[in-house]
Symmetry: C2
Subunit: 314 residues, 2 copies
Amino acid sequence: MIYLAIDIGGTSIKGGFYEESGNCLKGFSFPTHGDLPGTESFAAFISNLKNEVEAFADRDSIVAAGIGCPGTIDSLKGICNFANNLDWHEVNIREAIESIIHRPVFVTNDANAALLGEMTYGDCKKYRSAILLTLGTGIGGGIYLNGELFDGEEGKGAELGHMVIVKDGEPCTCGRKGCFEAYASATALIRHGQEGVARNPNSLLAKSLVTAKSIFDAAKAGDVLANECVDWYVEHLGIGVLNYINIFRPQAIIFSGGVSNAGDRLLNPLREYLEKENWGIAGRWCAKPVLAIASLGDRSGRLGALALAVRKSK
Amino acid sequence: MIYLAIDIGGTSIKGGFYEESGNCLKGFSFPTHGDLPGTESFAAFISNLKNEVEAFADRDSIVAAGIGCPGTIDSLKGICNFANNLDWHEVNIREAIESIIHRPVFVTNDANAALLGEMTYGDCKKYRSAILLTLGTGIGGGIYLNGELFDGEEGKGAELGHMVIVKDGEPCTCGRKGCFEAYASATALIRHGQEGVARNPNSLLAKSLVTAKSIFDAAKAGDVLANECVDWYVEHLGIGVLNYINIFRPQAIIFSGGVSNAGDRLLNPLREYLEKENWGIAGRWCAKPVLAIASLGDRSGRLGALALAVRKSK
């Protein structure tokens, strides 16, 4: 039995023909063409995929496909309602790919796919429950409970970036104010760093382009401004993470996305914050979740798409 | 098959011998004795319960017991780690009751029990997913997903009152600042009303004891201060509810506890708030959850304890 697994990203679409074990029999990759109108980039994707499938000798052994896609996904219908970076609107991914492989196609949000990959093939596969937070342009989220992905009605849940933590705070892309994403995404960290640089043009941080990486690097080098940025970021990330610990009390919290590349330089101060805040509730004994960086790197989405296809087609 | 179901409350302990249908063969009630030290009130509970079981003719048909208990519950072990109002500390409820009935005993948090009751025997039994918020002294919470209760590692999850919505806001009993509970519990509403009365001694609200009910009643009668209190409360409740909608996208949100007695006078302005805030995310089509008041009244906890016993013993 062979599964088609695809991770649609903002820059490239990566996929492959896989065995259930995670073994990739043949991989492929094509550009997303985010510069083209959405209808054209989607048509190019389907055309490229058709060529790949037709060129794959063992195509008759494909039993199902799993797809991780950014944006708002209707996982029941297999439709991408809206993906900003791709300019995709009400795109029926399931129908288009089923017409190529003539087998069931399952679609989920990219963060859900990444979490499913980590929980099936990554270091966290030993846990029954976990929350994934993708700290990138925004904050993506995934919820895994009792050994299963939970994505809410029509797959529209797990919008973990859109929890207000600062009433009347920074405006968020969702239309609300003070969302977690507006304080703990890479975008928020960079915004805070740029504001600091404007006030402190002589800081080390001012000497290069402000990125999540440059902030963590300058903090390590002892730059005062950069350290203030990291403290600011960790406090806001900590508030949101602690909210999710109180809500889910999961076994693990997994971080992915750009900011997660800071590794222990992110996790260590975050653990200190959580200790100081009693991991949620003072005086009550509660299990402390493991804090982990996603272990599969950029393969988590594809392997999660594989896990989706395997699980849903059983 | 008969089930023993018990709801432990701050004032009284109510229970009964039930059939799976929800039919109560014999009910009982005794005072909680919150005035006594916890060891004594627990011993009195167990002694009273023993008498009830021994007096129940059909006691050999009991197959399991379900218990809803306030406080921090270790649902795996059946222990109440801590219940403030009862002065109970590390009380092994399962062991004590199993020694009476010699059948399996299952224990959960009181809010979880109420939610399970509503989802099994109440108006919301047609839904697969719901969030319950108990708007009382604090905010209790329950999470029901894919037809099952989710209560986190060791039953320590679903602390839905302890989500920070106002960074550096009002102090909360949990040790953090700005929790949902510190703005949307009955206690918070009353605190806000009392602060208003201190500033406006001639308001209608100042003429009686400030309670959640007196605030909603005075608001209905046109009192400016009381209406400001309701607006303030609904905005904060709305922030938290909308956070939970984005996280879970559940089919229903169920309200119980003192403030929920306001019924449509609470739900109508809350719906208006949610409409104004696009039910979460501007420009994205999402299913709107049903907003409902708990339908079983004070029976929800007992019927939830029954549902727990029935489900867990199958």
